[in-house]
Amino acid sequence: MTVLTFTLIMILGAFLAGFIGSLSGLGGGIIIIPLLTVILGVDIHYAIGAALVSVIATSSGSASAYVKEGITNMRLGIFLEIATTIGAVCGALLSTIAPTSFIAVLFGLTLIFSAINSLRKKEEHIVLESSPLAKKLRLDGTYPTHDGEVVSYGTKNVVGGFGMMGIAGMMSGLLGIGSGAFKVIAMDNIMRIPFKVSTTTSNFMMGVTAMASSVIYIQKGYIEPGICMPVVIGVLFGAMAGAKVLVRTNPKKLRIFFACLIFVLAVNMIYNGLNGKI
């Protein structure tokens, strides 16, 4: 395949990945990796590098608006970044020694887990009273709603959330993904942070988490400019298009469709990983 053909296919594929990632709430990075490896036959290390670059671009881009509106809890984000960056460095180091088939299988399992998680019905329980440690760390906060109301919330189980964030960071460094599904568990289910705050804060943290593993990726040669350039551009515009569509449609049926699609890709990756084809 010539460079030009490859670039054009990549831009198109990455656009689709960004679009699906944004509609399904899974993020573009997690879809670009099976696309590159299973469909285009790219080595998984290059795919991970390209996914990480696209994750930084989309998360920083979308985080900017939420930070300005004051929805993002910056204290919470920076505190949890200690856990995600340590996890990311460990994950990136692990990815340089782990066998390719192990990475492929782990990725497939993460993909299935994220797809199921995106379908799960979510219930919001805002707690008002923070735990003593959360009070000490000033992790409580407020956020504005659409009608201009201000909602206050407290934070619980800081240690549990911190630990889960470490795992999220490790998966991110190991697989080059944003690992949104793990962060949601840490913040929504364990720490009881409202959805609006947890999703935007997780976006805000992504850049620094990815940065921590990116240095190791660069040194090991995971970042291949010829792959990254079309991937980043495609994913970013795909995500923007997805966000526009999301405002107008009900994503519920789409989510089920995409979850099935992702399930097929995941099984394919696990199968290829076990057979040593990746």
Partner: protein
């Protein structure tokens, strides 16, 4: 401190925080667009020179260069107008955007005199530095 003075201080604090939210928000936005523009220009240059080359990405070539060697190679290439190096400059700018964001929050916490969070931010910076220093071990 009387009540009025106290409320004035609180207002100042709130103003400061809101200000930083805007600055950090803008930094993230313009950082992403700048780095993508550079990568895009690099991509055009790269395609103009290499569009009919055959590339094979199915085999991974592991590198073991430390980050400073990589950066100096990119710098040399970018000056000579090498497309791939220019794309890499864009990618590195993208990676630096969150680093600047962390430094900005450090200033923000210093101004607010929130020393607990100054320390927490410094720990994050330390971890990033450690990850950079892994390059020296090779």
């Amino acid at each position: 401190m009387d009540l009025m003075e106290k409320s004035k201080v609180m207002q100042n604090e709130k103003f400061g925080e809101k200000d930083f939210q805007t600055i950090i928000g803008n930094l993230l936005r313009y950082g992403v667009w700048t780095s993508l523009s550079v990568a895009f220009i690099g991509g055009i240059v790269y395609l103009l020179g290499h569009s009919s080359d055959i590339e094979d990405y199915s085999v991974f070539h592991e590198n073991d260069r430390n980050i400073f060697e990589v950066i100096s190679a990119i710098y040399k290439g970018a000056i000579q107008g090498n497309g791939e190096s220019l794309i890499f400059v864009g990618i590195i700018l993208l990676f630096l955007t969150p680093v600047f964001r962390v430094l900005l929050s450090l200033f923000s916490f210093l101004l607010e005199k929130d020393y607990l969070y100054v320390v927490i931010t410094l720990i994050v910076i330390l971890i990033i530095l450690i990850s950079v220093s892994f390059g020296f071990s090779h």
